[in-house]
Point group: C2
Chain length 133, copies 2
Amino acid sequence: MKNYTDTLRSHNLKATPQRLAITDILYAHGHISIESLYDVMIKKFSSISLATIYKNINLMLENSFIQEVKLPNQKTVYELTKHSHSHIMCDRCGMVNDITIDLNAIVNTVSTLENFEVSKADLVLSGVCKNCA
Amino acid sequence: MKNYTDTLRSHNLKATPQRLAITDILYAHGHISIESLYDVMIKKFSSISLATIYKNINLMLENSFIQEVKLPNQKTVYELTKHSHSHIMCDRCGMVNDITIDLNAIVNTVSTLENFEVSKADLVLSGVCKNCA
DNA sequence: CTCTGTGCAAAGCGTTTGCAAACGA
DNA sequence: TCGTTTGCAAACGCTTTGCACAGAG
């Protein structure tokens, strides 16, 4: 398991045990909602406050250390920032996974056709995963 | 301007003046947040309640008469349900527009590669629109 | 030692609910 | 007329804020 102490510091965040736990959990889960994150955190820090979770998530978002993923019909989840990618989400079990899709062709088409300078593409494919099918 | 009386009734919704106004506004604006919808509605119905807005929006969502569009870094907006499409959103002025992109190739690739049955694709391209550039 | 981060309690906001009166069909 | 919808007020749930103490560097 990666140690995020230096990564946190390089983002001007002190490496507190709570923050290290958050990053570990994000790393392990891939995607997690505030509520689930709190449920996992409280097992390790019995007196942690939701305020601490929110303050840290917001700080990490401002830093682009993590990113927000808004999902249809589900709570927003958070993930460690990595290369640009898309998501698949299972409507049955709620599973969320990263997928790598080349959207360049689409981005280029839209840029010229709509005269719109695309800087980011957020794509969520929803449906039924192999386990639920 | 289209009259939504019958459309509302076919969705088992009584055609009240408030609902007709909501549909007209959705039609005229394309995409609108709850807050903006309320701001527009109150000009026509000085004593309308936010509760009425929420109740109607939720009913219309349940009916698939309208749809929710979750946007990065912006409030969720609502639109009348139409053919499947994607969105472009300007980070400067907040403009949201529909675009038609063929995502079939992507959907097929993901279906086979990930063994995932895709039923819906939500794509938002963000960037800078021609007016803001 | 200094400044940042944590936990608590309270406040803030957006959204939902219950209810009586008004209204659509 | 009957069942639905509206508007109001209160309740709710999630998120943020202020503050004193604890902890990282």
